[in-house]
């Protein structure tokens, strides 16, 4: 228990202590809102698909959550380069506890980041269907964050330095984001694309957020959350196993 708490608290403290990073990471979502929301909004509406900002807001919230939580893996590589990893490797606590604490810490901070993006979208004109949806969306966001923090940490245990990270972002995370239905509705795409989207774990996270915030979705909430939580669990175990094998 202590180890989980400590690893979680550490991520939180580090997050609070870099307000510059918090503000800076709102830049990209803002750009998406401006470029897509205001740029494509009219076309979207003219095509009869409704208010684009309402459609886009849950997707951008999901984007911010996954980008920030995958970054947890970068923190691990950072710790490897600068030593703190050794302190955790020699600690007499279970590897699963250490990884669970790290995943929980990474997902808490990225969910906070997601909440900030949601507030940003509300400031730009997005209106959730119900106000309680915001609270429910934070819960769904946390499960999505957990999945991608576990994924990022699993990758982090396999990498020796940070050079592989841009590759992961460009060839794994970005495609996942664009295929997930975060920026366009999946019910109007070609069936091949729909199949790809259904294999993308992020699809279910985006779908859950959209359901809770706007009332529209492709799948049931139960499917969304089951897929996300099951994959989270598998990735956490993979990350812990890989962490136990790490040598420095």
């Amino acid at each position: 228990m202590g180890a989980i708490y400590v690893m979680w608290l550490r991520q939180l403290k580090r997050y609070w202590r870099s307000p510059a990073r918090i503000v800076a990471s709102l830049g990209q979502p803002l750009l998406f809102f401006v470029a897509l929301g205001f740029g494509l909004g009219r076309v979207f509406q003219a095509a009869g698909a409704g208010n684009y900002l309402n459609f886009l807001a849950p997707g951008i919230m999901a984007m911010s959550i996954i980008f920030t939580s995958v970054f947890s893996g970068m923190d691990l590589i950072w710790d490897r380069q600068f030593g703190f990893l050794k302190e955790t490797l020699v600690a007499p606590v279970s590897r699963v506890a250490i990884m669970f604490g790290r995943v929980l810490g990474g997902s808490t901070t990225s969910t906070l980041q997601g909440l900030l993006v949601l507030l940003l979208s509300i400031a730009l004109g997005f209106r959730p269907e119900h106000w309680w949806g915001v609270i429910a969306a934070v819960g769904a966001g946390l499960s999505l964050a957990f999945l991608f923090a576990a994924f990022g940490l699993f990758l982090g245990t396999l990498m020796r330095d940070m050079q592989g990270y841009p590759l992961v972002m460009n060839f794994v995370v970005m495609p996942m984001f664009f295929l997930s239905g975060a920026v366009f509705p999946l019910d109007r795409v070609a069936s091949a694309m729909r199949v790809l989207a259904m294999m993308d774990p992020l699809t279910y996270g985006v779908d859950a957020l959209r359901r809770l915030l706007t009332g529209n979705s492709q799948f049931s909430l139960l499917v969304d959350l089951s897929v996300t939580l099951a994959l989270s669990f598998i990735l956490l175990l993979l990350a812990a196993r890989s962490f136990a094998r790490m040598q420095v």
């Binding site: 180890a3 400590v6 403290k13 580090r14 380069q81 007499p92 606590v93 040598q247």
Partner: protein, 265 residues
Amino acid sequence: MMAAVIEVEHLCKRFGEVMAVKDVTVRVEAGDIFAFLGPNGAGKSTTIKMLTTILRPSSGRMRVNGFDPVTQSYAVRRSFGIVFQDSSLDDDLTAFENMEFHGILYGVAKAERRQRIDTLLAFVELYDRRDSLVREFSGGMKRRLEIARGLLHEPRIIFLDEPTLGLDPQTRNHMWSYLQELNARQGTTVFFTTHYMEEAERVARHIAIIDHGAIVAMGTAQELCAQTNSQSLEQAFLTLTGHEIREGDDGGLERMRNLRKAWRR
């Protein structure tokens, strides 16, 4: 004969083509102060990493406090404290937080933990800076904090990899008198590596000299001098390991550190 707290037999570690540790056999008795000497790249750090469970040996047998670091890693981890050659602190936490987190990881109860943290921080003269971020500390301050942290859970064995590197003589003396006192009072075994021969001669009861991944001599400082007909340990060391200058192995890390400095600005 005293009980052995560290037993190593024919330990070997291979990294691809390179044999970092070829054949190390060492026995350290409980309550000893044991120095591990050797030129750069001789295999000192690699051996310590294997003893402390963060590197798996290619072959050989080890016992730390009666447990096998490979198969009984948790039991081994509970029994030692370590000060690594390069920092293992979290720069983005305060001195107190680094200590506190360590105490929680090692399951030290709160009242006891807080009291020991105060005592240890006072001892390493960082009490006034307990709420400062470690990032603001000098190299010597970080080292002192690491030593305090390594002792927080009152380990049976303390491993110190080049503990006094970069410390001024005052701090060095201060640190050794504390470790010697701890050794006398609680019987804590001290296992350290160093480049300072006079330090090994002064504080270590037994010394092993390692070169090219194998132990070349072992004994007290007097025994090593007698074996090599030398006047001093330094002379004995040079006789045993030759005069050839070795390549350091931490250039990569130094480059990363500089990169980080650039990154943080």
